[in-house]
């Protein structure tokens, strides 16, 4: 294994994914696109976990962790989509700005 990609490059890719995710969450107003942004963040973390696992190849802790994350993210997405569906039935829109009612902070 001489030609492996250096760890820093993988971490950099993870950081880019993370930033893109945050950007999507902040700028997009469509509920499902926001959820996609959050999925990007989860994937950035997964990439990190798998990459860091290379430091201790015999333990596999990071890889197992990323498997757990995938399952949990799927469960969370299922519930989020169910709620989005209910919101759509009620409001006829999933635009976050239009769902907001009188906000008195």
């Amino acid at each position: 294994m001489t030609n492996t990609i250096p760890l820093t490059l993988v971490l950099l890719l993870g950081a880019v994914l993370f930033c893109l995710g945050i950007l999507a969450v902040i700028t997009k107003r469509h509920a499902i696109v926001v959820l996609m942004g959050v999925e990007l963040i989860f994937n950035a973390a997964n990439l990190n976990l798998v990459a860091f696992n290379r430091q201790q190849p015999h333990l596999l802790e990071g890889q197992i962790f990323s498997l757990f994350v995938m399952v949990i993210a799927a469960a969370e997405a299922a519930i989020a989509l169910a709620i989005v569906l209910k919101v759509y039935q009620y409001f006829q829109t999933v635009n976050l700005d239009q769902i907001n009612h009188e906000d008195e902070n």
Binding site: V34, N48, E61, F65, I72, L96, H101, N105
Partner: protein, 508 residues
């Protein structure tokens, strides 16, 4: 026998012996499955039984937890399940608080008219509650990043479901969507932080000495960034600024019993996790990194205190006011945590215990106002204290306790917190702690103004509505039961502090 087989047998026996410390979770999971099964029956007789089945499950787990608390010396401190979980005083005591909160939630749900009318699938509501309790128990016991993540997600997913459980209600859907979007974002950021903790620490077990030795080699800015990311998830759970945006919306939309639960149990679990991290940081890291962390957590505490207390001043709805009050309470606890001292733990546990009783008390009163009298605004409370004196007086007791004035347990709790911060300031000379102490004291004064508005409306304004509705005896009895500890602990604090001393002694 070859070595891999031997190590496998060792792990299996370890897992088997671990079940002895997992009884509350096993019982709760069993009753969860039972509820899901029973919910399939359509007979009304079965449907009516469901809350009591859930209640039986929580009572069974409380019995185990009380037994554990009595035998605390023999039970703690033990790692089990191949180092994923720990059984210690902190976890057992927190578990007991979760179960008490669970019982109060079911009692409040049984009294709630809104839930009864609008909610057809009653079984699933109580089933989610049991899953939530299981998750909280696991959260308090986790010493492994993977276990912690799974437990936090279990809590979060059950919380999203409970928030949006009443269909066909505008607020509930809206707050459910906001909660899940903020919530998944917070857990994503936390997970990203955890991935770096794993990478730099070289282990998932955060009670490992090696883990912290590896981390202490990091340069200060990277270390702070990693912890900021990880703590985002924890601060979200305790509703601390700048991760508090979900609180007012969720508190407005979710059913009152669920809100009362959110304002106590997940907060306690979040603080237990933060305490576990901070104890390790204090024991293993260099002072220079510790000072950075004091600034980080103290800064979060300061922002939380200011935002919580000042925003509460402008609220016109009882629920939103209590949401910001709950943010403010998280700030007070964080301020005590910022000192990173071992002796803060008992003061914090005392404060959180008291918070449990007063929050459920004030939310039961809010529920009665909303259900019976259809009042959600503070204006609507005008003169109601004169019509319903018992309700009014108990509201005053809970609000005085929330403010932190004598003769209530809230005063004792705040006194313990503030003396603790002062002691740590005297010991370390860190002037930031003095800033925290002074702002805490000043903001308690601010808190007095927004809490006092409720009794002001109740007693000093003219009554707007005609007629009087009958209050149920059971509601009054439960209110009195909740008010009793709030007063009793003020006169007999040793009753609670003795238990907590014992608990802290056997905590890791």
């Amino acid at each position: 026998m070859n070595i891999p087989a031997q190590s496998l047998i060792n792990s299996l026996t370890d897992i088997q012996s671990g079940f002895a410390y997992l009884w509350p979770e096993i019982i709760l999971t069993f009753f969860f499955l039972l509820l899901v099964g029973l919910d399939l029956f359509k007979a009304t007789a079965v449907k009516i039984m469901l809350p009591f089945v859930a209640l039986a499950g929580i009572v069974a787990s409380i019995m185990v937890q009380v037994n554990d608390l009595n035998n605390i010396a023999s039970i703690s401190i033990k790692h089990f399940f191949v180092g994923l979980l720990i059984s210690d005083g902190l976890a057992i005591y927190a578990g007991l608080l979760f179960s008490v909160a669970g019982i109060f939630t079911i009692v409040l749900s049984l009294l709630n008219q809104n839930l009864k009318v609008k909610f057809s699938g009653r079984g699933e509501y109580y089933a989610y509650l049991l899953v939530l309790l299981t998750g909280l128990n696991l959260m308090a016991k986790s010493v492994n990043l993977l276990m912690l993540f799974v437990a936090i997600e279990l809590v979060s997913i059950a919380s999203y479901l409970l928030t949006a459980v009443i269909k066909k209600q505008r607020n509930a859907m809206e707050s459910g969507l906001k909660y899940i979007l903020y919530g998944t974002l917070a857990s994503g950021v936390m997970l990203y932080g955890m991935s770096f903790l794993y990478g730099f620490g070289g282990s998932l077990n955060f009670t490992d000495t090696l883990f912290w030795q590896n981390l202490s080699r990091l340069s200060s800015p990277i270390f702070i960034a990693v912890f900021l990311l990880t703590f985002a998830g924890f601060l979200f759970k305790v509703a601390a600024a700048p991760f508090h945006f979900w609180t007012p919306d969720v508190y407005e939309g979710a059913p009152v019993p669920v809100v009362a639960f959110f304002s106590t149990a997940p907060k306690i679990a979040g603080f237990v996790v933060i305490i576990r991290f901070l104890i390790q940081i204090r024991n293993h890291l260099a002072t220079i990194l510790q000072d950075d962390l004091i600034l980080l957590i103290g800064g979060a505490a300061l922002i939380t205190l200011v935002i919580g207390n000042f925003t509460a001043l402008w609220q016109r709805k009882a629920r939103r006011l209590l949401a910001y009050s709950s943010v403010a309470h998280a700030g007070f606890v964080l301020a005590a945590l910022a000192a990173l001292a071992d002796n803060s733990i008992s003061a914090i546990l005392f404060y959180l215990t008291v918070l449990l009783f007063m929050n459920f008390g004030i939310f039961l009163i809010v529920q009665i106002f909303e259900d019976k009298l259809e009042v959600a605004d503070l204006n609507g409370l005008s003169g109601l204290g004169k019509t319903y004196p018992f309700l009014g007086i108990l509201a005053i007791i809970f609000l005085i306790s929330l403010t932190g004035l004598p003769p209530t347990a809230g005063f004792t709790g705040k006194l313990l917190l503030f003396t603790n911060i002062w002691q740590n300031y005297a010991a370390t000379g860190n002037s930031f702690l003095l800033v925290l102490l002074l702002s805490g004291l000043l903001l308690t004064g601010v808190a007095f103004f927004y809490y006092i508005r409720i009794p002001y409306f109740l007693f000093f304004k003219r009554n707007l509505s005609e007629g009087k509705k009958v209050m149920l005896l059971k509601e009054n009895i439960i209110l009195a039961l909740l008010a009793f500890p709030v007063l009793f602990i003020f006169f007999q604090p040793s009753w609670l502090t003795n238990v907590i001393e014992q608990v802290v002694l056997y905590s890791k």
